[in-house]
């Protein structure tokens, strides 16, 4: 069931009604039932996969909780030295359980998302040696497997570190995993605080409910009116990239950057809004990333929950391992603080970015995109201070708005090149598109090349300007340290103004959204 469908709206309405009518202590059961219905709509067999994986994780979590309880008993009335010894011993035991749990979760993820890629590449190797081929398994991955698997991994790791208590009721744990607003495309919600909020009793909060609806409308606007309107242009050109040449690929990069932002952040607005209708706040996954002044900032504002996951579960553990700390110290002694730490951090950064690429799917384009961003992040860290000094010498005011806009455009351009790597049908297509983007076109441009009619482009542009205006307003509020969202601002207007905005939003989506076969059916991130 797509969140962009009338059936989803009806489903949400029924869930909300039942959720607020029944006794509050049973509200979580409504969420569980809703999660099962929502997920089963994508295929009952998928439900079995996610259920079984959750059962294994639940089993591991109980074992780790038992260990933590024993540890708490053993730590009573012992001195610090003995306590440390006990903690280390108990942590070692938890590690075994953690590894077992991770093998199962990551194994299932790789089986569904990576087996064909592995077989394909093994076949390439085999074709050079023995003339035998392994046939592809062509497994169809369960909906949202990359998202729920990461939630399960974070849950196990948090338990291993003793940061949370295990959920002892399997059905409640399943409720958290299957929570319908976040299971298909995230945000990757950590058990703490989401679990606590999910199982608390919720009274109907009119203010939160209406703000949830406004957020959903904003999300539908981004997805149906903008993203789906410009999508045919991108897909038509990308399908036959070698037939095109010249700066059209720059236009593709710009349009796709807007499309993927409206698609993914639009979905996040819809799911966060629908969750707020149930009184449960989900983590913000986007903070106007195209206003970022450099790449590290961009990645702190785009798909925030995935970035945090990799930072906490890959970058920090790898960087703080004995080997990398030694490298860091040696590097800083040899090359100075800035260069030393940056050189020592390159390998963990590249690890994170290759994994981020693979997370999107086992595909050389995604891996190439990950390596590209890893290199950019490393370069950004390395040249941060030298460039700062250069700017000071040249007496350039880096806080001036014009310079900030230049930095934002530079970041956008670097992302755009990454999008072309991400988009290509194979890396050769990507390299062709990037190379061709900066050369003269072999054929003259006509409006036909741009697939959409002139007035469609004009309308899309008006909608993009509206999106830009709202984003700028929110950015200004945040930069001025005003703790208020556009929704808060709207909530403070009079009822006529609010009603007019609401009505205009709904009419805009109904009249100008893209509907019909093949439109609005899937989200880009749903396939990951």
């Amino acid at each position: 069931m797509s969140v962009v469908s009338y059936s989803f709206l009806l489903f949400l309405l029924i869930v909300c009604l039942v959720y607020y009518i029944i006794p509050k202590k049973w509200q979580w059961v409504v969420l569980l039932a809703a999660g099962i219905v929502f997920y089963a709509a994508a295929g009952v067999s998928y439900l079995a996969v996610v259920g079984l994986t959750a059962l294994v994780v639940y089993g591991c979590s109980l074992l780790m909780q038992k260990n933590l309880d024993q540890q708490a008993l053993l730590l009573q009335d012992v001195d610090r030295k003995a306590a440390r010894k006990i903690k280390n011993e108990m942590k070692q035991k938890r590690k075994r359980v953690l590894v077992c749990g991770l093998i199962v979760v990551i194994g299932i993820l790789v089986l569904f998302k990576g087996s064909d890629f592995l077989i394909e590449n093994v076949n390439v190797l085999l074709s050079h040696t023995v003339h035998r081929q392994i046939s592809a398994w062509k497994l169809i991955a369960p909906l949202g497997i990359s998202f729920y698997s990461f939630m399960m991994i974070a849950y196990l790791v948090d338990l291993y570190h003793g940061k949370i208590n295990a959920q002892k009721n399997f059905l409640k744990y399943l409720t958290y995993v299957l929570y319908f607003p976040h299971i298909t495309q995230g945000p990757i919600g950590r058990y703490d605080p989401l679990g606590t909020e999910m199982f608390a009793e919720h009274r109907f909060d009119y203010d939160m409910f209406r703000k949830g609806i406004w957020l959903m409308i904003w999300g539908y606007f981004k997805k149906l009116v903008i993203a789906d309107r410009i999508a045919p242009f991108v897909s038509t050109v990308i399908k036959n990239a070698p037939d095109y040449s010249g700066p059209i690929f720059l236009v593709i990069g710009i349009v796709y950057s807007i499309q993927i932002y409206c698609d993914f952040s639009g979905c996040m607005d819809i799911v966060r809004g629908s969750s707020e209708c149930l009184g449960i706040r989900l983590k913000e996954n986007f903070r106007r990333p195209y206003f970022s002044r450099n790449m590290p900032e961009f990645w702190r504002r785009w798909h925030i929950s995935l970035g945090e996951f990799f930072r906490e579960n890959v970058f920090y553990p790898v960087s703080t391992s004995a080997l990398f700390l030694k490298l860091n110290t040696a590097g800083r002694k040899r090359f100075g603080n800035e260069w030393g730490r940056n050189i020592a951090s390159c390998l963990p950064i590249l690890c994170v970015w290759i994994l981020t690429g693979v997370w999107h799917g086992a595909n050389w384009n995604y891996i190439g995109w990950g390596v590209y961003h890893g290199i950019l992040i490393c370069l950004s860290a390395m040249f941060e201070q030298p460039i700062k000094k250069l700017m000071e010498k040249a007496k350039i005011n880096t806080d001036h708005m014009a310079f900030q806009v230049f930095q934002m455009l530079r970041t956008f351009f670097l992302c755009l090149i990454g999008r072309l790597i991400f988009l290509g049908n194979g890396l050769s297509d990507s390299f062709y598109m990037i190379g061709s983007a900066f050369s003269r076109p072999q054929a003259a441009y006509t409006m036909k090349l741009f697939v959409l009619r002139r007035k469609e482009w004009a309308f899309a542009l008006v909608c993009m300007l509206l999106l830009l205006a709202v984003s700028i307003a929110q950015e200004i509020l945040e930069r001025r340290g005003i703790n208020m969202t556009i929704r808060d601002w709207l909530g403070n207007r009079n009822v006529i103004f609010r009603g007019a905005v609401l009505l205009a939003g709904i009419l805009l989506i109904l009249c100008f959204g893209i509907y019909g076969a093949g439109a609005g059916a899937t989200f880009i991130y749903e396939q990951f």
Binding site: R80, A83, R84, H161, K163, P296, R311, E312, F315, Y316, P317, S319, T320, A322, F324, L325, N328, T329, R332, N337, R341, N342, A344, S345, A381
Partner: protein, 75 residues
């Protein structure tokens, strides 16, 4: 504490470690700076800060970092 602040200034010059109380929250310290601080702490104090201790509360001020190091030292 003064020595500790001097060490922090060596690792990340140009930051007012005496008074800042939102080093991570305000983006003054980034992940690479935190790793460098951990590396320097392990070198100077012989204390290894595990990755699960890397949370904003532990790195938002020099005082919080100092307390963390003392706690780990005493353990």
């Amino acid at each position: 504490m003064n020595e500790f602040i001097e060490m922090l200034k060596r690792v990340k010059p140009g930051i007012d470690f005496e008074h800042e109380t939102a080093l991570v929250d305000d983006g003054l310290l980034e992940s690479l700076d935190i790793i460098s601080i951990i590396s320097e702490v392990s070198e100077v104090y012989g204390v290894w800060i595990p990755s699960d201790e890397i949370i904003p509360d532990n790195f938002n001020s020099a005082e919080a970092m100092y307390e963390l190091v003392q706690d780990l030292k005493e353990e």
